[in-house]
């Protein structure tokens, strides 16, 4: 068996395990793939039950060879029972099945953190080469199966309901991380909107007044989705707010955030895009530093022109002690500045078409005479019309202000 073939089997099994939470048919598919991938005649997959003493439930059994002895099913039960109750493994064990037939067996408990969550039994023809390569692959598969079975029980039972409640609470906490009230800054109107694709998400929007009375704006996006992304989003918020109290320039703030988060982000191969801007309301100057986030869009109300304020900089967690660049732009009356996540421009409709930057500009252009809050509402309406009944794939977050 080649390495590619081994990888292929592992990949197929893991992919099916991901489906298993929603589709129990996936377990039958797993046993089928194991038979074809490993050349087994029969495979069964068992779940350990622990209510009122140990018991077992067969999730699936697949016979790749016709006319196997009828006794095999009962013997399979007995072997799985020993594996689950006694933690007993059988490796290339020759067993008599029925009156005249012998078969080779690999049976193993599925262990997750020393706890038996199930068992797997693989039956082979007696002349199968009882090699170490197959055995090593089976061990790898067993590790993945143990985690998959654990996830299945966790999500499908009472634990699933508990998790759902925890998610609800997490969503409540995350909503509380959004600015409680929009700061009242002289000469501008401000608005922000956030539509999560799941209960919790990895988009980060923040607005606050700095100690020297400037408007601080932070927009970020954590790699991935769901709870892990939400955890990193919360950590990023703490790091940025702390740095913004100590440092006054956006580039220095991002450098401090990167210094703080880099070891953990790099260690887990996760990245965060982050943009931090400061608006000086008296001189109407916007200062900006960028860590891999999409450039803000500036719509010049007087000329009808728009531009992207591109400032290069790598994502947070990319390089240790990275020096970020600082840029500034002079704004004028009627200018609109939009900070956004990729969920805005990449929102797709039923035909798979993205909303795109052009449509965002169109919405700003057509509604430029309105206040920031009204423009934000129009943008949300247009995004909603574009997405229609299609499932929202990514978080949609944006923040905009208009120089009045």
């Amino acid at each position: 068996m080649t390495r590619t073939e081994e990888t292929e089997i592992l990949y197929q099994v893991c992919s099916l395990l991901l489906q298993a939470q929603a589709d129990e048919q996936a377990f039958t598919e797993i046993t089928c793939r194991l038979c074809s991938g490993l050349g087994a005649s029969c495979c069964s997959l068992w779940l350990a039950r622990s209510g009122g003493g140990r018991s077992q439930e067969r999730l699936a059994i697949y016979q790749a060879v016709k006319d196997l002895p009828s006794e095999l099913v009962n013997l399979d039960f007995t072997v799985a029972k020993q594996a689950i109750e006694q933690g007993q493994s059988l490796v290339w064990q020759k067993l008599r099945v029925g009156e005249n037939q012998e078969m080779l067996l690999i049976a193993s408990p599925l262990l997750r953190q020393a706890q038996v969550v199930g068992a797997v039994c693989l039956w082979f023809a007696p002349d199968t080469h009882a090699g170490n390569v197959t055995l090593m692959l089976v061990h790898q598969i067993i590790r993945n199966l143990a985690q998959g079975i654990y996830n299945y029980t966790y999500h499908s039972g009472v634990n699933g309901r508990s998790l759902s409640k925890e998610l609800e609470m997490a969503a409540h906490i995350q909503t509380g991380l959004l600015p409680e009230k929009i700061p009242d800054i002289r000469g501008i109107s401000l608005a922000m909107r956030s539509l999560m694709a799941h209960e919790v998400g990895g988009d980060y929007l923040d607005l606050f007044q700095t100690p020297n009375k400037l408007l601080g704006i932070a927009v970020g996006d954590v790699m991935g989705k769901g709870i892990p992304a939400a955890l990193w989003m919360a950590m990023t918020r703490v790091a940025l707010r702390t740095a913004a109290r100590t440092f006054s320039q956006p580039d220095a703030v991002l450098e401090e955030v990167n210094r703080g988060l880099y070891p953990d982000l790099a260690g887990q191969s996760i990245f965060v895009t982050l943009q931090y801007a400061l608006y000086e309301p008296v001189k109407k100057i916007l200062f900006l530093a960028n860590a891999g986030h999409l450039p803000p869009l500036i719509y010049h109300g007087r000329t009808g022109q728009f531009e992207l304020l591109k400032v290069k900089g790598i994502y947070i967690g990319g390089l240790e002690n990275y020096k970020f660049k600082l840029a500034g732009v002079q704004l004028k009356e009627s200018d609109i500045v939009l900070f956004y996540s990729d969920g805005v421009t990449e929102a797709v409709n039923a035909e798979g078409q993205q909303f795109g930057l052009r449509k965002v500009v169109d919405v700003l252009e057509k509604n430029a005479l309105f206040s920031a809050a009204e423009i934000a509402d129009k943008l949300i309406i247009h995004l909603g019309q574009h997405i229609g009944d299609t499932r929202q794939r990514d978080d949609i977050s944006f923040l905009l202000f208009k120089v009045e």
Partner: protein, 110 residues
């Protein structure tokens, strides 16, 4: 559609042709495929067949490159669409890994 990876190895150079979706559901397949490469000194990741990639997929490519470089393997990303390269550029990947890592950038959508 899941991710399919076809690997061609000649002498000490491997080309991994990625086809399909590179996201949270498939990224481990890429990492497994990369870690399984033995006895090579050069690896090309050919992204011509990638139809969709999300941030987890980009993180996976970044991780794959890092892991290969730790093993002193020279890595290139080839046949990447201009749109995807623009996203990589905004994220700063060429600055982190070097612009020479990217070759044969294709015009048009991914």
């Amino acid at each position: 559609m899941l991710l399919q990876i076809r690997t061609e190895i000649s002498e000490q150079r491997a080309v991994l042709f990625l086809e399909g979706v590179l996201d949270i559901s498939t990224v481990d397949f890429l990492l497994t495929g990369v870690s399984g490469l033995a006895g090579v000194k050069e690896v090309d990741l050919d992204l011509a067949g990638v139809t969709f990639i999300d941030s987890t997929g980009i993180g996976g490519i970044s991780k794959a490159v890092t892991k290969l470089r730790e093993r002193q393997i020279y890595v290139k990303i080839i046949n990447i669409s201009a749109d995807l390269f623009e996203i990589f550029d905004i994220l700063g990947l060429p600055e982190i890994f070097g612009t020479e890592m990217f070759e044969k950038i294709r015009a048009g959508n991914s």
